[in-house]
Symmetry: C2
Subunit: 371 residues, 2 copies
């Protein structure tokens, strides 16, 4: 592999493109539009891989991210974050440039925004199907109908349908649990659609989360899906049951900086500012990442009995066996499969493919080069 | 206050400068050299505030950070991270430009580095005084003496003394516990100095962690301190007992985007990509931050009975009272005191003072402006 001297986020293009193709094929087979959530990679370059697979619409989590992808040729963008009325000017500008959809999670915010719009914007009413984060509870038909009526009265807003992120699927620890969450959310959304469609014309239902979209097969009443993490997957998704370790498309390459065979530990340059502080439970341990060996073609399966047990700002402490610790030396490079690839990508602000090509990221779009 | 539309990291210059002056006065009073760890702010602008207070030497956690501060006029820099032999060229270059000190935490790594050096580098032997991260155990006199002998034999390396980061102080939950950790580490280091000084000439002892440096008064045998977090402090430090909430010098300004009085919750635009996923325990709850009100002069004390209970990538869920939730509306701006200011600063890549001046950060040094 090309020379690596400091923490570097590697992406295995073949695994990533395979993850994209698999989800696109599933969406096509079931008759869903795949609108991937690009917050995971935040990369126009990886966006091109989505286009190659036939993806035409994307989902983002901020106005800034929408602007970045609009500048890179995307013309159908959903901002899957409650509209911030303070950003009305940017929303208005974007709506003049692309086919823009936003989420209404609070009628006051939508009213404020509407009063300043010049251009037409499509609106999904966000539904809380159990995650307890944002959106109207699916049981609050009165408030949902009130929002739908407000949108219908406006000549700037166009009701597109319902959006829900069943993020409580992240608490699942088996495919069966994920399927239960999915089915529960799906039924709520399908019922809403059936209830309001007669009065409000054709309505779309969009569901977005990687566990449900990876595991579930029944999508009756659903029209669109917007998973994000699936392009890379990560350890958390293996814990949930969404993927296997072989599907993880990113690994943080880290230099070994100190070896302590007597502690059965190795310290690497790879900490919270590279991986994030997200953890998951694997093998009864709290884990910040698991190591793999790097080779010319990519990386190995996770090294047995080894895991990143702690991170500070720049340090990572790898618990391993005494023999693994004795076999490593400072200057060796290991890969670390991240717990949460979205946060690792955000921190690393870019990717390097296995042949050394650098891929961009929204946070480096104004940088001359990767630091 | 100036207009804020999206997540913005505010720094209260008066609080920050006061934190700096207080630590500098303490160091002067006890007769210690203060070499602040600038990983917390990573900002040349805030570095100027250190210079104003009379600080002449700094500590950093990477070669990249050392290069950045060297380019901003710092000439006495300690890289408090185990030397990575792959970065020997950069270390060598830096050593030609500034008075450079490095840490030896592994003799193999030091040997590799030494073989490639052209310029003189000062070396601290890193001592593990109980944190279990990096360094030679203080009890391993044989290995420590071997490292000292290796350094003495080299015409490139110069033994400066011992460095220790008693990071296990972060597990403390009272000033008494911090004092015990400090005293235990201090005694280990003072004994080492006494043991090796006769053979290896004058040796410095440098201790670096904000809890010990904030709380302890006894530093016999210690020559230098390198705390970092104290310039900003944060919620974790209040939990440890290092500071009060009034000493916290940074707050993340976040727009309210959705209000749910019936849930007694408010959702803000401020999540893991702004604050990090670090948590602490306050009021028997796991907390990702606590809210404050912003006003013309800065911010209020923490709002009673309110805390950030969850973050996802961009969302923060604020648990509050029904009346607080009902009193807020989308577009309002709150401040969030961070759990771990070092990680928040790293993520936000810059600071804004209360009069709207933007301060730089190593990660934005090549950006035209803050995103």
């Amino acid at each position: 592999m090309f020379s690596i001297k400091s923490p570097t986020l590697l992406v295995d293009e073949a695994i990533c493109k395979n993850n994209i193709r698999r989800m696109k094929r599933k969406a096509d087979r079931i008759g869903l539009q795949l609108k991937p959530h690009v917050k995971t990679h935040q990369s126009a370059d990886i966006g091109e891989w989505l286009k190659e697979a036939g993806v035409r619409a994307i989902t983002v989590s901020s106005v800034t991210m929408a602007s970045y992808f609009a500048a890179h040729g995307w013309s159908d963008i959903t901002i899957a974050f409650p509209v911030n009325p303070l950003e009305a000017d940017s929303v208005n500008y974007l709506a003049s440039a692309v086919n823009l959809s936003i989420l209404a999670a609070d009628l006051t915010a939508l009213t404020q925004l509407e009063s300043t719009l010049d251009n037409e914007v499509a609106v999904y009413i966000e539904i809380d199907t159990g995650s307890g984060r944002t959106g109207f509870p699916s049981t609050d038909l009165g408030a949902i109908r009130e929002a739908a009526l407000f949108i219908r009265k406006s000549d700037k807003l166009k009701l597109r349908g319902f959006y829900s992120h069943p993020g409580h699927s992240y608490a699942c620890r088996s495919r069966q649990e994920v399927e239960r969450i999915h089915e529960d959310a799906r039924v709520q959304l399908a019922a809403l659609k059936e209830e309001l469609q007669p009065d409000f014309g054709p309505l779309m239902v969009c569901m977005g989360d990687t566990p449900c979209c990876s595991v579930a097969e029944r999508f009756d009443g659903v029209d669109e899906i917007s998973p994000g993490n699936f392009v890379f997957y990560d350890l958390m998704q293996t814990q949930i049951g969404s993927c296997t370790p072989a599907d993880i498309a990113v690994a943080l390459a880290v230099p070994v900086v100190a070896c302590y065979p007597e502690r059965a530990e190795v310290v690497v340059h790879g900490g919270a500012v590279h991986l994030s502080k997200d953890t998951c439970q694997l093998l009864d341990s709290t884990v910040y990442g698991v190591p793999v060996s790097l080779n010319g073609e990519g990386w190995s399966a996770p090294l047995q009995d080894c895991y990143l047990k702690a991170v500070s700002q720049e340090h990572g402490i790898l618990a391993c066996t005494k023999s693994v610790a004795a076999s490593l030396k400072p200057g060796d490079i290991l890969g670390i499969l991240p717990v949460h690839s979205c946060l690792t990508a955000d921190l690393m602000m870019g990717f390097t493919t296995l042949n050394g090509t650098k891929l961009n990221h929204i946070r480096t779009s104004a940088l001359y080069s990767h630091v």
